[in-house]
């Protein structure tokens, strides 16, 4: 086991309730620097709710919720993002009536006061050449895969330490899915820490270091990606072996 010190995100007893409905019922979760951690589970298991709760977009309670030494309790999303954790939401949710460039500019809004947003943007366009070609197009006119690239690029503009990705492969053609997974691997190689929610269990476990399996708002199973891949539960339920 690694020392608790290198954990970037550490959550104990997280619950998320929408009125009387409890979507997440007390989960513990740790993400260490430089890891890709994946959250797996069926529809409605509480994966998206967990991510939304972490960035403060879903109503949440927790015994302990610490990111990079900061207690997240009660912090609004904008503050959490400024501290270095951001979310690429499910369904991409690019600002479709704004241009690609404007989407990226807003993503870097946190830097506008200091730093050099132009540099970050140049960096981003080098990483996503397709976006450079489409800079002045409306984001809504991009294909699904391009929109996902834009959503990820927009999130990266805030230069996060921890990136939460909610179903980045949803609704994309298989070749595009491969490119998205390549990208996620690349981002990790450049030092980004990633918490990934996916329904594509096989590919997630291939790039992830560790994983958690959620069911009915609880952690049902956790371990290294390797151990999860070979566990009979995962084999039966998701990998269809």
């Amino acid at each position: 086991m690694t020392m608790p010190d290198d954990s970037l995100l550490s959550i104990e007893g997280l619950t998320v309730s929408y009125g009387a409905v409890e979507a997440v019922r007390g989960i513990d979760l740790t993400v260490r620097r430089g890891e890709i951690v994946t959250l797996l589970g069926a529809n409605g298991a509480g994966k998206s709710s967990t991510l939304n709760a972490l960035v403060g977009l879903a109503p949440r309670k927790a015994k302990r919720m610490v990111f990079a030494g900061t207690d997240l309790t009660g912090l609004p999303p904008e503050t959490i993002v400024r501290r270095g954790m951001t979310l690429v939401p499910e369904g991409r949710r690019v600002f479709s009536s704004l241009t690609v460039e404007e989407n990226l500019m807003l993503g870097g809004a946190k830097h506008a006061a200091r730093g050099n947003p132009a540099q970050v943007k140049a960096d981003m366009l080098e990483r996503f050449p397709i976006l450079a070609e489409r800079l002045h197009q409306k984001a809504g006119s991009l294909s699904g895969g391009e929109q996902q690239m834009l959503a990820i690029g927009r999130a990266l503009m805030s230069s996060p330490d921890l990136l939460l990705l909610d179903e980045p492969s949803l609704g994309l053609a298989p070749q595009v899915v491969d490119r998205i997974f390549d990208l996620i691997g690349n981002l990790r190689d450049r030092g980004l820490t990633i918490l990934l929610v996916e329904q594509n269990v096989a590919q997630s476990l291939e790039i992830a270091d560790r994983g958690y399996v959620l069911a009915n708002g609880r952690v049902e199973l956790q371990g290294s990606a390797e151990a999860l891949r070979s566990s009979p539960e995962i084999q039966d339920a998701y990998l269809g072996a």
Partner: protein, 295 residues
């Protein structure tokens, strides 16, 4: 033909004021889903501010600037005091809150200022008539058309060329995701209210300049018209609000000009009838939310 052109200019002037007001409603609605019925009181407060500034001896241009500053401050305070505590509540709660703010302000105007209209000393230079070829146009109407166009252009530039403007367009599309950009929800909403206050202020100055007086209920009727205009255009769509404002102004002026005299008292009824006809064919409004915030 000249008469028609003349009426067209009248329609531009009246419709422009409706458009500014409808735009103010739409800017706020598109972001927090609130139909601010206290928007009319922002007009009224502008009128009083201009009125008292003139009484205190400020020159007219300074009085106008004071009026606009008061309108923006009032809008900002309205959000801070009344609407922020209920942000995210149901549409009904928001609507009732705005009715309450409106009612409280009217009562305050009546009791602290006067229930009667107070005359506003509009400079004589503004009451002249400009003759362009065969057309006679009131100076104030001309100014009102120019000011409206300048405001629309200015707002368009603001929305497309500044970060705050881009943030507002993004907020109208997806407020939650905008917060993920690290932009403070409160500042975006406050900006929206300040802009809606400015728009109401400009409309208020134009309205007062044409009427020459201000009373506690001054804003009630125009804001109701603006609400209708915003609905015609498609609630929440900024370009729709502008289109709806001009269309309503046009309908009213044309009816005023061409209805037989015996039917004139029913002018507003006919106007509303035409609005209903528009909505029967375009229930979403002329420019529904898809084209949001393009001006």
């Amino acid at each position: 033909m000249d008469i028609f052109l003349q009426q067209l200019l009248n329609a531009l002037s009246l419709g422009g004021t409706y458009a500014l007001l409808a735009l103010g409603l739409a800017v706020v609605f598109s972001i927090i889903g609130l139909i601010n019925f206290a928007h009319g009181e922002l007009m009224t407060v502008t009128g009083y501010a201009v009125c008292f500034a003139l009484i205190w001896g400020l020159p007219f241009p300074l009085a106008v600037i004071a009026g606009l500053a008061v309108a923006m401050t009032a809008a900002f305070l309205m959000e801070r005091v009344a609407f922020r505590p209920v942000r995210g509540a149901s549409g009904t709660t928001l609507l009732l809150t705005s009715f309450a703010v409106s009612a409280i302000l009217r009562v305050l105007f009546q009791n602290l200022i006067s229930a009667r209209p107070i005359p506003v000393a509009i400079p004589a230079s503004l009451s002249g008539v400009v003759t362009i070829g065969p057309l006679h146009l009131g100076m104030i109407q001309l100014i009102s058309i120019i000011v409206t166009l300048a405001m629309l252009l200015g707002l368009n530039l603001f929305l497309h060329r500044t970060m705050a403007g881009r943030a507002m367009r993004a907020a109208a599309e997806d407020f939650a995701v905008l917060r993920l950009m690290g932009l403070r929800a409160n500042s975006v909403v406050a900006t929206a209210f300040a802009i809606s206050g400015l728009l109401a202020g400009v409309a208020g100055v134009l309205w007062v300049a044409q009427r020459g007086s201000v009373d506690p209920l001054m804003g009630a009727l125009p804001v109701l018209k603006a609400f209708i205009a915003a609905i015609i255009g498609g609630l929440g769509s900024l370009s729709g609000a502008v289109a709806g404002g001009f269309l309503l102004g046009f309908i009213e002026v044309i009816l005023q000009a061409y209805l037989p005299e015996s039917l004139l008292p029913y002018r507003d009824a006919f106007a509303i009838l035409l609005v209903i006809a528009v909505l029967l064919f375009r229930p979403q409004g002329l420019l529904a939310r898809k084209t949001l915030v393009k001006l």
